[in-house]
Amino acid sequence: MDDDFIIRTRGFSKSYQADTPVLSDLDIDIRPRERIALIGANGTGKSTLLKCLIGLLPGSGGNVTALGETFSGSPTKTQLRRIRLQIGFVFQHHGLVRQLSVLSNVTHGMLGYPGSWRAAVQMLAPSEWRIRAMQALSEVNLEAKAMDRADTLSGGQRQRVAIARALIRRPRLMIADEPAASLDPAAGRDVMTLFSKLASDHGITLLFTSHDMEHAIGYSDRIIALKRGKLHFDLPAPQVSEAMLTEVFDG
């Protein structure tokens, strides 16, 4: 059961105010090891959907099964904790703590686990976590920068540290909201390539949103397109043409 899908929604809908649904009637299946691009024009509810799928925002109708936990509306606290422990998050803004070392920022990935206050700075972290952090850093090729301060890195390097911070959790699902949107094109491609590689190396399911056609087609197995809060299409990446993407991005 659990291995059939990472996320499944049936008739899912979400509205912030009654009668004005942001998302309506979504049936989405995400299976293990898939790389999914979620696309749509600004304001179509991509970020809202990402948050709803993992229980960070309550849904308004239908139900969601995420990483083995089924809920309609909000998940219970226990469910939410179980879900979060299996997810790595990467956002458009890296969200690193600028004053701290790269290594400390990576150990922050352990926050949320029991006894995790020790992950606040690498100095206090248990050896096992420091080892895991160094392993994660070597996966993103930044081992040499471990003791540099986060604010001395370039934009692309910072995003790679953010990826290492997600990776240290050994997640089953990696969620990335516009991970390349604030990077220059070359750094953006590097980051997307790294995501793809890590996902296949570690068998991680990847769910990312993007505004970039090249990224959506080039780094995903399947593209889910939203239009005005409804499912517009859900197709394997090779079957999606540029014309179809342009239509989606233009709303």
Partner: protein, 264 residues
């Protein structure tokens, strides 16, 4: 000649505004008549002041006296250092509870904001009087005063530094399930640290300055000697003590400036 419409020389002042200006000026002039030194007073006072300075010279350099005030100076520093250290430690949790958007208490955080304001707005000499009454004469009352002073100052500025800390890292960590305390230790405090160190050094400077005068109300330190010297008309002792205080404050400012430069 072409007539040009020139802008007015004066800004528009409404009737109400004009009334307020006149009223404020009147209050200042009347008050000055009550409390400002008159020319006559100054003329009378100046020779007396000159006479006082003359009696202060030369400052007392008797070794026994110098040894005694050295111990008092040491005590002054001890009051300032220990008071600031304890005050800083207490300020951290207080600031956390008071900082808007960071506090785990929500709206109740204002209780701590108000407490910090109370500590800050009551002058240090008043706190010293209270503590002397409570724990008796001596350095302990002085240290307690400096602790309260430091919480009043650092509690406010630590809270502001925490409120200004980068939100994006806090949100990123909260999304993955970090609780408020973890977010505080891993993101808020590291981000606020440079500003908090700066505040802490200012607090130390202020503590030295106020520990010097706390003795005037009997709360230990060099000020106590100054009060005794004036009370017993030992003006040469007083001048030596005033010079010593001047040196203490100078040294303190020099040291904290260097520390600040080192950290940045």
């Amino acid at each position: 000649m072409v007539e040009r419409a020139l802008p007015r020389r004066t800004a528009n002042l409404s009737a109400g505004g004009f009334t307020i200006v006149v009223a404020v000026a009147a209050v200042i002039i009347v008050s000055a008549g009550d409390v400002a030194p008159s020319v006559q007073r100054l003329a009378d006072g100046f020779p007396r002041l000159a006479n006082l300075v003359e009696r202060m010279m030369p400052p007392n350099t008797d070794p026994a006296f110098l040894t005694r005030i050295s111990w008092r100076i040491l005590e002054t520093f001890q009051i300032a250092l220990v008071g600031t250290a304890i005050g800083l430690i207490i300020s951290l949790p207080v600031a956390w509870l008071a900082a808007r958007g960071v506090t785990p208490l929500g709206t109740f955080g204002y209780v701590f904001k108000a407490l910090v304001s109370l500590f800050r707005t009551v002058p240090d000499l008043v706190w010293a009087l209270l503590f002397v009454a409570a724990v008796g004469l001596g350095a302990v009352a002085g240290t307690l005063t400096i602790i309260v002073d430091t919480i009043g100052f650092c509690g406010r500025f630590f809270a502001e530094a925490m409120e200004d800390a980068d939100k994006q890292s806090q949100e990123a960590l909260a999304a993955q399930g970090a609780n408020r305390f973890s977010v505080l230790c891993s993101a808020v405090i590291p981000d606020a640290m440079p500003s908090m160190i700066n505040t802490g050094l200012f607090a130390l400077e202020m503590a030295v300055r106020s520990s010097v005068v706390l003795g005037l109300v009997g709360a230990g330190g060099i000020g106590q000697e100054l009060k005794v010297a004036f009370d017993l008309f030992q003006y040469q002792n007083a001048s030596a003590i005033i010079l010593a205080i001047f040196v203490i404050v100078l040294v303190m400012e020099f040291v904290t400036d260097r520390l600040r430069a080192m950290i940045q």
